[in-house]
């Protein structure tokens, strides 16, 4: 009887131990509300959704956040209202260092690239992927990857042309979704990669794509890239292509930050509503109709050139406490609840082509016509055309003035100054040399691995 009882105990013991411990499933616990990576990309819809997240990430960067950094380095915005120690304060002082830098923007651009590279590596695993979809998705990925690398190299490296062979350090090029650490490539290599990606994109992007990247967007972006490289011929060719395209027409309104799709827009970030607002970086920092003391305000120098009675764009600006010691200016350009963010548009193409012509000694009349379109739209009835006999130098000044005014606070002007500095012009930005080290954003401290070269800090007054 006792033996039988003992056997029973043993049987129960074994049973419980088997039940409790040997079942591997009991250890196979999965996170809730998340998809396991292996299960995430099974269909074309999954890949499309991942691509869509790349646009989402990119839009959250280009909602003004990145453009503001360029402006803070430049001469259009006054010292921000943020307290000492904030990112904007540090950037405006051109004093970023590895513990106070735009690490969020840096990470998110590379996170966007990681997502794109994931698509590249896993697209062939998807069984229902058609060749057409694959071609389009990869082209859109190339388009966004090129743009992300470009934004990175503009902020974290000296401009193209800073050294004759562009061997100066650029940013890491990421083409794989792995954990291998990449050091900084040269600026030349980064631009080569950008152009390669853009060429691939242009070749395969569709002509129409429901607010996503199109062939024209690829061309317009490439034109901008070439222009920043001071490749005026290349930029002009692409600008000609776009400007000759009947799909787009020059808008009557100079206000491109609107809800909707003005006819001159080639590519913009889409806000679907107040809760899906892709202009937050602009609105939160400039908007003054609901905030008497916004973070970012125009400088007096900018106001001087922008605020003229004949210029309808003056409506964007307002002076406060005029004549007093605490006089300051406001920018109303982004005083809205929600708008789309125009990134590629005909105004830019016109300005670009005009300047390319002026730089290369081309047909001045085309340049004048281009710039007059913009001037005529901006000025009141006192507007007059530019004198056809204008000197090249004065023409350039006129074009650049219009560029500064048209795309003010959109992150463009500082880049143009640095481009021109790299081209050899004697450029000062807020009383400092265009290439003073502090004009570059410092890399986050996390980049500190063997062989990584950090930017030199300070040196801009």
């Amino acid at each position: 009887m006792k033996n039988k009882f003992n056997s029973y105990i043993i049987a129960v013991a074994l049973g419980v131990s088997t039940l409790g411990v040997s079942c591997k499933k009991m250890l196979d616990l999965k996170p809730e509300n998340l998809t396991l990576a292996d299960d995430a990309l099974k269909t074309t819809a999954d890949v499309q959704a991942l691509l869509n997240s790349c646009y989402d990430e990119f839009a959250n960067l280009m909602n003004g956040s990145v453009q503001n950094l360029h402006e803070l380095l430049g001469e259009n915005v006054a010292q921000p209202q943020n307290s000492a120690g904030s990112l904007y304060y540090t950037v405006w002082n051109r004093g970023t260092f590895s513990f106070r830098t735009a690490d969020r923007e840096y990470l998110d651009f590379y996170n966007c690239i990681l997502r794109i590279n994931t698509i590249f590596e896993r697209i062939d695993d998807v069984s229902d992927m058609t060749p057409e979809n694959k071609k389009r998705i990869l082209a859109e990925g190339s388009f966004l990857r090129a743009w992300c690398h470009w934004e990175l190299v503009k902020l974290w490296a000296q401009p193209y042309g800073y050294t004759a062979d562009n061997s100066h350090p650029g940013v890491p090029i990421r083409l794989k979704a792995d954990k291998n650490i990449e050091l900084r490539s040269s600026v030349g290599a980064v631009y080569n990669q950008i152009l390669a990606d853009l060429d691939a994109a242009i070749a395969d992007l569709p002509a129409d794509n429901n607010n996503y990247a199109t062939t024209d967007a690829g061309k317009a972006l490439k034109a901008k890239v070439l222009f920043i490289m001071n490749d005026f011929a290349g930029a002009k060719t692409l600008a000609d292509d776009i400007l000759g395209n009947a799909k787009y027409s020059f808008s009557d309104s100079f206000s491109r930050f609107v809800k909707g799709a003005p006819e001159e827009i080639i590519f913009q970030l889409i806000s679907t509503g107040n809760s899906d607002n892709r202009g937050g970086g602009f609105i939160n920092n400039y908007r003054s109709d609901n905030n008497p003391n916004p973070v970012l305000k125009p400088t007096a120098d900018f106001a001087k050139i922008a605020m003229h009675g004949y210029d309808k764009r003056s409506a964007f600006y307002e002076v406060k406490n005029k004549g007093k010691a605490n006089e300051f200016y406001l920018c109303h350009k982004f005083d809205k609840d929600v708008f789309n963010v125009p990134l590629l548009h005909l105004t830019d193409m016109l300005l670009m082509r005009a300047e390319c012509i002026a730089e290369t000694g081309g047909d001045k009349s085309i340049a004048i016509a281009d710039i007059d379109k913009i001037r005529k739209r901006a000025y009141d009835s006192t507007w007059t055309s530019i004198d056809p006999l204008i000197s090249v130098s004065a023409l350039k000044d006129s074009i650049r003035l219009q560029r500064r005014l048209e795309m003010a606070f959109e992150g463009d002007w500082t880049l143009q100054l640095r481009r021109r500095g790299a081209k050899g012009e004697n450029i000062k930005i807020r009383n400092s040399d265009w290439n003073c080290p502090g004009m570059l954003i410092q890399f986050p401290q996390s980049e500190n691995t063997a062989g990584f070269i950090f930017n030199t800090e300070g040196g801009c007054n």
């Binding site: 003992n6 105990i9 013991a13 419980v16 131990s17 409790g20 411990v21 079942c23 591997k24 009991m26 250890l27 616990l29 999965k30 996170p31 809730e32 509300n33 998340l34 998809t35 396991l36 990576a37 292996d38 995430a40 499309q48 959704a49 991942l50 869509n52 997240s53 646009y55 989402d56 990430e57 307290s83 000492a84 120690g85 304060y89 540090t90 004093g95 590895s98 513990f99 840096y106 990470l107 590379y110 996170n111 966007c112 990681l114 990421r174 979704a177 954990k179 650490i181 990449e182 996503y212 679907t272 899906d276 986050p444 401290q445 996390s446 980049e447 500190n448 691995t449 063997a450 800090e457």
Partner: protein, 1013 residues
Amino acid sequence: MMKKHTIILFLLLFSGLLPALAQNLTLTGKIKSQEGNAIEGAVVKTGSTTVITDKNGNYAISLAEGVHQMTVSAKEYKPFSQTVVVKPGQNALPDFILSLGADEMDPVVIIGYGTSTKRDLTGSVTSLKGAEVQDMPTPSFEAAIQGKAPGVQITTGSGVAGSGSLVRIRGVASISAAGDPLYIVDGIPISQNYFVNGNNGGFNNNPLATLNPEDIESIEILKDAAATSIYGSRGSNGVILITTKRAKKGGLKFDFSSRVGTSQPTFKPQMLNSSQFLQLYQEAWENDGGTGRAPLPNNISWEEALKTNTNWVDETMGVGLKQMYSLGTTYRKNKFGAYLGLTHDNNGSFVIGSRYKRSSARLNLDYEPIKNLTISLSSSYTQGINNRVDGAWSGGFGAAMSTALPIYPIYDTTGNFWRPGNGGLNPVAVRKLKDWRTTENRTINNFKASYKISDKWVVSAFGAIDNMDFFEDIYEPKALINTNHAGIAKRSPRSTFNYNYNLITNYNILNTDKQTLDAMVGTEFQKSIVRSSFIEVSDMNHALYKGETGGENSSRLERKNATEAFAFASYFLRMNYKLRNKYIFQFTMRSDGSSRFGPNNAYGFFPAVSGAWVISDENFMRNYRRNNFLKIKAGFGRTGNTPNENYAWRGTFTPPQNSFGYNGNPSIFPTRLENPDLKWETSDVLDITLEGGLMKNRITWEVSYYNKTTNGVILDLAVPRSLGFSSYYDNVGAVRNAGLEFSFTSRNIVKKLFTWTTQFNIARNYNEILNIGVYTQDAVSGGTNDTRVVVGQPIGTNYLVRFSRVDPATGRPVYLDKNGNETFTWTNNDRVAVGSVLPKAVGGLTNNFTWKNWNLSCLFVYKIGGNIYNSSAKRQNGVVTDWNMTTDYFDRWQQPGDIAKYPKLSMQTSQYGLPPDPYQYNTTLFLEDGSYLRLRNLSIGYRIPAKWFGKSIQSSRITFTGTNLLTFTKFSGGDPEIARDFENPADRNMSSNITYLTAPQEKSYNLTLNLTF
């Protein structure tokens, strides 16, 4: 007398021969308690013969004529040994009477899944009785361990009510994985998440606060691999076993205690008053070339400022009141025993508005329904209510030390709370307007059944549940936040359901005069599930714990968060072999499977071998052993640790329903890269201990050496962000901890009316990061990032730019560059390893005196070495900003030629050679020596003579206790015992001794009454 002993000795020496010559006789006897009750199950042993008493306490044993040494042992009684002489024809032995209590010379020690005696221990274990943590009022029981266990470093959080402690056993071996010991209450590894509420309000919730110290019978601290490897994957940082009280023999008994006390800060921050602030602020303005009066922060006018002088420290710190009532009831009769404990604690802190209330009930039952079957049930329920206020960086007393300037009034001229220009509110206003509390309802229950199949074989089944429902309530009215309606009430519930069960069998394989061999085999499963959500109700007049009905515009938002879970499945084995009662060997092994690792590394194997040799039992020590004891033990084994995150190895994507999408279309995106190779952090531990007793154990001592090498250290790596993600869990690098521990207890005077006992311990730990792979000192991701990981240096290295001096000519700070050359420019690249937050040694000294009915107990704790980094001082006594400064700043440069501690006052970072950010810089100017000596506890008690109460009260005692009464330190910034608010486990490992507006410790005076009846 001498003759009698000689005869007995003679008989003993020849007793081995006698059985062969004599005839065996059957003798009967009885084992009784002092009360005369029969003791069932007592073990009567002589030579190789062992018998057990029946329910009447009777036994029958077969013995030869002659002299025998008989030992009797029974659970809950002191063992008893006596020489008996069996004569021809004898058939009975005298009754043996056992007294209650443990064997003081060889006490029982709780070990993993069983017990041992101290003599038989091969591992390193420190035992504390419950009374040792109940004699000192602390916010949480673990704080009372401080100074009492060698090699256990306890840093009490702060004087904020409900705060926890930082407990480190033999240093710290983990970096991103938790470095806290594993806490096991009556067999269940309890959930011990310090980040259930993040560091909301500058405060970490203490998961141990709901454990009632009054319920604790004993605490065992397992330190080396021989002791902890039975807990395998979680034993790397030591194990703390908490055993709660159970009924003892002796019928019905009540223990009542009550305590009242006060709470005050050990140190009050010395901030500038209004005129001092204005003077220094103006000086900075003028030093920077400013003319006229400096524009004051928040646009406050000089007129207003001059007529205001608010002492915000006094407005946020005062005197707290504490009280505690506890009633413990034990009942034991025959086969049934019960313990019922009821306690209510109400701990007010000196931080005004901070209070922790704990109401606790515990019922522990033991029953033997049939022969050889014992069952026990332990059940506790505790409610902890923590009234919260903002602190540290979040406001409250933290604001009093920083942004709340003395020139700001509490109220404006209309009687409303004064508001600065930025719309914020002062700490008094926030405290009065905001209703903030956290509630923890915790129940810990277990059931155990043991069946003795035979005298040699016992099988036990155990199951336990630890459930904690935590919720935080915050109510903010319209006056405090931007809302169109009355106010907003928020609640964050978080439930942790944790259970385990195990099946264990113990078998005595061999039991002879010379040797015993015991084996224990077990299997265990544990799972912990965390569910959380968030509720927000608008247009409310009160917090949700007062009711959920809002105004007519009320709306309710409820969000359920993802459920999190982890599980462990384990097998374990322990074998103990004892030869001649002086050579003891132990082998333990645990195989752990964890859900926190992928299939490549799901299971880990953690073995340990250890041995002990009672040297004093050797013949060559026979002259020594008469009065002395000497034992050496050594062990080597492996333990482990897991990452804190449950799914760290898994690659995951956020699905479309949880992401916002773009252009009206859904999106998915990766949230974590997969690391299927993530594995256990393993520690290989060597321990050698020598322990002894002198003068019949009047002096006992212990010396230990250990060496622990931890490989595959888990790091939440701050990977290059160009990878597209910012952090990644991986096994990187190695850490070494080695140390020496020494402790002794000396009963200096043992007289009937006067006794004096001294206990002393000291532990020296050496900690070194052996490597961190390809990564640099900044490799650890997230958290407050106060210290760095530097190869060749300890975990928690202060990696700073060196401050050289103040330039007498210009008043500017002079730094040292990496090569030691002086420079006016501070740069990141000039950081070097200059110190460590880890101390060189810690310990305690206790003296207990008794005289007649009086007793005096005095505990000093100390810490030698280790740096404190005063992280808030760089803003208090650095570039002048909108923070208040401390009076220490008076020692600043004012004119050429001045030799001063601090540079000239300036509001411009450029004057200090800094980047344009006045906060992200650190220098050795704010690094100080963290050594201290502290009178941790002083208590004076009087045992009231029983005759005062008659027979109704068995014993009574009244005690006055003072804690943290005196502190000796060089640290200029306040209290040197610092555990700041932490953001994650890595912070807990790396940021001790970093102060950032951290509240000081509590000084308390208490009066306690204990009654037993």
